[in-house]
């Protein structure tokens, strides 16, 4: 299992979600965050005050997936979020020790599989 953390442009969220839903990746968390990834700063002026906005609004996605889903999920995020300009964001793939579904107490692979889907139906998970 991996935890996929992606930081993307806010205006690309819909496209990323569409790509993920097509893959049947349904469980995810979305936060509004601010970040800086080397993009050109925006200069804004409010009356006499001119400021350089160091931080840009971003969206952070957190998705826990079983190993077979890691590559397709990463691919889907890249496809949905890429514009080719600096500031498209990053994807971090982190090891994930344990997942618990609060409603049922299910653990790990069963917990990251959408409700109603048999977690053992697909191919054997590569270790």
């Amino acid at each position: 299992m991996k935890l996929i953390v992606a930081v993307i442009r806010p205006e690309k969220l819909t496209e990323v979600l569409e790509a993920l839903y097509r893959l049947d990746v349904q469980g995810l968390t979305v936060s509004r965050v601010h970040g800086h990834g080397g993009e050109r700063d925006r200069v804004e002026t409010y009356r006499g005050t001119t400021v350089k906005m160091e931080l840009a609004e971003k969206i952070r996605l957190e998705i826990g997936v079983s190993n077979v889903f890691v590559e397709p999920t990463v691919e889907a995020i890249v496809q949905g979020a890429r514009t080719g300009e600096v500031g498209d964001g990053k994807i971090f793939v982190l090891p994930l020790d344990q997942v618990v579904r609060i409603r049922t107490g299910e653990r790990d692979r069963a917990a990251v599989t959408p409700a109603g889907v048999n977690p053992h139906l697909d191919l054997v998970e590569p270790s």
Partner: protein
């Protein structure tokens, strides 16, 4: 000069002027937060540019004597417009010019609802400023300046054709020529602040008492009739809209209620001083239907008239203009009776006024926008749209915490080192 009339018209002018910032709130609430300032600025900027265009040229083109098609240049820059009452009026001509100026300003601002979220700001300013001179002023002259529509007996009390049909037709053309937002019909684009929209609708209604009540140009019985009809008609529209919402979706929506109010206001505008209060309620209730279904239909088409200017002002204005020809009553001060009171010809006259206004506006707005497109791109780049029009057009954000903002020193302050700003030339 009559003091009571002048007092009322001073107040009515201020009320009509308030409608433009009210429209900024109405429209501003309906767009995404990244486009809120740009959308509000599209209304606000009309107070400057269209206001000046009106004072310099628009007024004289609309109300100068001229021909039956257009005024003249006799009052260029308001020359000769003074404090004496205009012939046949009891208020100073200068006040009349100001009152009509507030109409020109709001009319041009109405168009913006069709191009929010993608039209570049300077081409927009150029467009509405010229539009107010080449489309609004001539049509105002036809109806109110002694032009040909007045001569054939078209009735438009406060601007159903002059204001709403011209603005909505221009909105249709602008939406088509500028083209849709990149996200249109691909992403859900939702209102970011519906309370703003409700505030805007409320302030518009308040201002509209000056718009319709003031169109009597006096503190008299006709002003009272127009004023009361401006209360009753939107009230009836709101009831009809509520029922339509409830029946169709099972819920009564706030955006629907705000829209219904505006549609009722639009519909009663041409009729306000010419119909009985009961007729006003009928017009208000009937007007809900075409606009309600036009909104439903439009959202299934490729027409990105983003804030439904055509459905609200075009359909509402046309319904009102035609129904004026049905419900007008000499007994209530109209210059002629309508269809229901034995004068079917009036409906035909109203239809001619609507049709000719639409055709004229279509042709001139299209020509104007095509011409403007030759000078500069009308539409922002997709990246600018993605970033939001507030940052890309204005270098400001509507909602910012200031976190992570570095203060730049001004390059121009005397006695200071050139600030960081100098090294940021070319940055957005």
């Amino acid at each position: 000069m009559n003091a009571a009339d002048t007092t009322w018209m001073l107040l009515a002018t201020a009320m009509v002027l308030l409608m433009t910032p009210a429209l900024a709130f109405f429209y501003g609430g309906l767009v995404r937060s990244k486009n809120a300032l740009n959308t509000m600025m599209m209304s606000l900027i009309s107070l400057g540019f269209v206001g000046m265009a009106w004072a310099m040229l628009g007024y004289t083109l609309a109300f100068g004597h001229g021909s039956h098609l257009l005024g003249d240049l006799s009052a260029f820059g308001l020359r000769g417009i003074g404090l004496d009452p205009a012939p046949g009026s009891t208020i100073p001509s200068l006040l009349f010019a100001a009152y009509q100026g507030a109409f020109a300003i709001i009319t041009a601002a109405l168009i913006s609802g069709a191009v929010v979220g993608r039209m570049r700001f300077l081409p927009y300013i150029t467009f509405i400023t010229l539009w107010s001179l080449v489309v609004y002023s001539p049509v105002a002259h036809w109806v109110w300046g002694g032009g040909w529509l007045a001569r054939i007996g078209a009735m438009d009390f406060a601007g159903g054709t002059v204001v709403h049909i011209t603005a909505a037709t221009a909105a249709l053309v602008a939406a088509l020529v500028v083209g849709p937002r990149k996200d249109f019909a691909r992403h859900a684009v939702l209102p970011h602040n519906i309370p703003f929209t409700i505030l805007g609708a409320g302030l518009l209604w308040f201002g509209w008492f000056g718009f319709n009540g003031g169109s009597a140009l006096a503190a008299n019985g006709q002003a009272v009739l127009a004023f009361v009809n401006t209360l009753l008609a939107p009230s009836a529209t709101l009831v009809a809209w509520t029922i339509l919402d409830q029946v169709r979706t099972g819920k009564v929506t706030a955006v629907g209620a705000a829209t219904g109010i505006v549609v009722g206001l639009v519909a009663i505008t041409p009729a306000a001083g010419f119909v009985s209060p009961f007729s006003a309620m009928t017009i208000g209730a009937l007007a809900a239907f075409p606009s309600y279904f036009a909104i439903l239909y439009r959202s299934r088409t490729r027409l990105d008239d983003s804030l439904d200017v055509v459905a609200a002002h075009g359909f509402g204005g046309t319904t009102g203009a035609l129904l004026t020809g049905v419900f007008a009553q000499k007994a209530w001060g109209a210059p002629a009776d309508g269809l229901l009171f034995g004068n079917p010809r009036q409906l035909l006259v109203q239809a001619i006024a609507v049709g000719s206004t639409i055709l004229f506006t279509l042709a001139l707005t299209a020509a104007l926008l095509k011409l403007a497109a030759l000078l500069a791109a009308l539409k922002a780049a997709p990246q600018e749209e993605g970033q939001g029009m507030d940052v890309s057009q204005h270098g400001e954000e509507a909602y910012t915490s200031g976190d992570g903002a570095l203060l730049l020193l001004s390059e121009t302050l005397p006695g200071q080192e050139p600030g960081l700003a100098a090294s940021q030339g070319g940055a957005q």
